[in-house]
């Protein structure tokens, strides 16, 4: 996983509550067996005027000019500003892969759905929770000023505004450490292989039926 220490980037708005992962990456793209290449189809139904088909040449498709990510002022955005319950719905990690592939490194919202938050963190994307009031303020500033950017500092756990104000946010210490160092979960867990094995022995004694062969 790529490390996240601090990131300064252009902000783009996703100004609606309950953005679900179906909206982030529609189901037809889930047929891919790869982890990459989802970026051009992030928010497909909002971004394009025609229907998205897997493996189509997206550069030839008609863009929806009203969708922020298509507007010149938000080109190159790497921080998404969103509303409540961002990432609800399906567990598809493709949503996080699409965000990553598009170039987003952080999402700022008043709240996130649990599974998306966890998927994002595992892909080097930082979900930043700020209060509704703070998010309102950021939306206002973002709409008022082209080229609006923010700095998200995971070391300090702060979001720095262009006016030098810094707002702090909270993040799970385990996840913070993984992100700062770019650590892979599986490697960390396998360091505890002995503990897992010891647990498994007593678990098997207690619940032997769980370990029965499941041959069909």
């Amino acid at each position: 996983m790529k490390a996240f220490i601090t990131h300064q980037g252009l902000v783009a708005p996703m100004d609606r509550a309950n953005v679900d992962t179906d909206l982030m990456i529609p189901k037809q793209f889930l047929k891919s067996i790869k982890r990459s290449g989802f970026g051009p189809n992030l928010f497909d139904e909002l971004r394009y005027l025609d229907e998205g088909i897997p493996n189509a040449d997206n550069s030839q498709r008609p863009l929806n000019p009203d969708f922020p990510l298509n507007m010149p002022r938000y080109q190159g955005a790497s921080i998404l500003l969103a509303r409540e319950n961002f990432g609800c719905g399906s567990s598809r990690e493709h949503a996080a892969w699409a965000m990553d592939d598009f170039g987003f490194r952080a999402v700022i919202a008043p709240s996130f759905a649990d599974i998306f938050r966890s998927n994002a963190l595992k892909n080097g994307i930082l979900p930043v929770t700020l209060s509704s009031e703070q998010v309102d303020e950021l939306f206002e500033a973002l709409y008022a000023e082209a080229g609006y950017s923010l700095t998200v500092d995971l070391q300090a756990c702060t979001v720095s505004l262009p006016n030098d104000e810094a707002w702090s946010f909270e993040v799970d210490p385990f996840r913070r450490n993984c992100l700062l160092k770019g650590l892979d979960d599986i490697g960390i867990t396998l360091e505890r292989a002995d503990a897992i094995k010891a647990f498994e022995v007593q678990h098997r004694n207690r619940f032997p039926w769980v370990f029965e062969d499941i041959a069909l």
Binding site: R16, D22, S32, G89, E93, N119, F174, T189, W209, E212
Partner: protein, 479 residues
């Protein structure tokens, strides 16, 4: 100390608690399907890692399979959609390469992963169960700790048999009283989500309890726990009782003899202790719940079938007004209109929420001797598994559906998420027994109204949303 059911399941699977608040939790059963597993297997192969415990894993293709008999019989190689074919083939190949047990496409046991799991006894009370699918919450109906995971976690479980988790908080939802006629587990689920909202359960494990829950069959409890994720909770739970034990006794992968007795002794303890502390509790009067229909693009946008779509004046703030107007525009509805004036073009009876035998029986009871209204352009019944299909055929339910003018399909996820050819056209309106009414979920531009199977059947007969009693009054209620 008095413990909740969730606390007990958590404690029994805790490998180690870390100082940073995370824990390693041991996973008993891991279910896999074709959509969220390929990248996980690829990750293992790249890192040259093997499976921690091969026997913990069970795979089945479901999301992307064709539900047409002809296409199924022709086998995978003949599937016209190449991209789908590659994904399905990749599951077969990965299961072979990693020696994972897989129920293949045309096996009678194949079905939607959340229907197949309990049906085979692959999921049992007291287990920790995960799957790369958010509706894994379904299995909490068995008194199992079950939740959906992302693909990185699928890989993590394959390689370590553990998950890195933070303990959730306990949320108790008590549904009291006796349900009215024609009111089902689906209506309870929609009523709860309507009340607490789609983020109401975020960060919680929800335990459903109370007399109305006790009276539900295992199928009903699965429907309810299935929708826990639509309330934001990664897992739903129902305590073990005789209904649970009767359901699992004799299932192919369930223990038997002395092993069953030992299991039963543990399973009998799987309930919240008297006086256990919950972080949040609500009580809902089950006798007051009416049949529900969602009118918007989120499961919390729901009303009684006797009710109306809300108006701008009902909305508490500007964000809510924007949300309402966006939903109404997408759904092609006007504020304040009667739910019973909404006319679907399509009917979908299926999905891991409502495709079990009890669901098909409920729909067939309404459709028996009746016809699908001429305004309905497509009507699918998609059983949840090959075994559900066979049971329904043995009971003659397939004839009832076919005679009424519906299509009787092969098992799979089908129009629940429209990854295969079963989908709505732009603007098409569907009465659906699935669990998500998000924009485009059932096909780009499609409009979904979530209902119970009986309500979907009633909508099929009347051509609009109507109470079951209204749909069946021609031949006498419940005929």
């Amino acid at each position: 100390m008095a413990k909740t059911l969730y606390d007990k399941l958590w404690d029994a699977h805790l490998v180690e608690q870390r100082e940073d608040g995370t824990a390693l939790i041991y996973i008993d059963r891991h279910l896999l399907h074709e959509v969220t597993s390929p990248q996980a297997f690829e990750g293992l192969a790249i890192a040259e890692r093997g499976l921690w415990r091969r026997n913990a894993n069970l795979a089945v293709p479901d999301h992307n399979v064709s539900t047409l008999k002809k296409e199924r019989e022709a086998g995978l190689a003949a599937l016209p959609d190449v991209v789908s074919r590659v994904q399905l083939q990749t599951l077969d190949d990965n299961c072979e390469a990693f020696d994972v047990v897989e129920i293949p496409l045309n096996d009678v046991r194949q079905g939607i992963v959340h229907v197949m799991g309990p049906e085979q006894g692959a999921v049992l009370p007291g287990m920790t169960v995960v799957c790369g699918d958010s509706h894994t919450s379904t299995h909490g109906a068995a008194g199992a700790l079950a939740h959906g995971i992302g693909t990185s976690e699928v890989e993590h479980v394959l390689a370590t048999q553990c998950l890195i988790q933070k303990k959730m908080r306990n949320f108790r939802v008590e549904v009291t009283g006796k349900l009215g006629a024609g009111v089902t587990a689906k209506d309870i689920a929609l009523a709860i989500i309507g009340q607490i909202g789609t983020a109401g359960g975020t960060g919680f494990a929800i335990e459903f309890c109370g007399t109305a829950i006790r009276s539900l069959s295992m199928e009903g409890r699965m429907t309810l726990c299935n929708m826990a994720i639509e309330a934001g909770a990664r897992c739903g739970l129902v305590a073990v009782d005789d209904v649970t034990l009767d359901y699992f006794r004799g299932k192919p992968m369930a223990p038997d003899g002395a092993s069953w007795d030992a299991a039963e002794a543990w399973w009998r303890t799987l309930h919240s202790d008297d006086g256990a502390a919950f972080d949040r509790s609500i009580v809902i009067d089950g006798s007051a719940i009416e049949p529900h229909v969602t009118w918007g693009t989120s499961p919390e946008m729901v009303a009684s079938v006797y009710g109306r779509v809300p108006t701008m004046a009902d909305m508490p703030d500007e964000t809510a007004r924007i949300g309402l107007s966006r939903a109404l525009e997408y759904m092609g509805l006007t504020e304040g209109m009667a739910i019973s004036d909404i006319k679907p073009d399509a009917i979908f009876i299926g999905s891991c929420t409502n495709s079990r035998i009890e669901d098909l029986r409920a729909a067939a009871a309404v459709l028996k001797g009746r016809q699908v209204a001429p305004t309905i352009r497509k009507a699918l019944v998609v059983p949840g598994s090959g075994l559900v299909k066979a049971q329904a055929e043995a009971e003659g339910l397939d004839r009832i559906f076919i005679d009424a003018g519906m299509e009787w399909r092969e098992p799979g996820c089908s129009m629940c998420l429209a990854m295969n050819a079963d989908r709505l056209l732009p603007g098409e309106r569907c009465a659906s027994t699935s669990n998500r009414n998000f924009e485009g979920r059932q096909g780009s531009g499609g409009r979904t109204h979530l209902v119970s199977p009986a309500m979907a059947a009633a909508a099929a007969v009347t051509g609009r949303f109507a109470a079951v009693s209204e749909a069946t009054q021609d031949l006498g209620a419940g005929a």
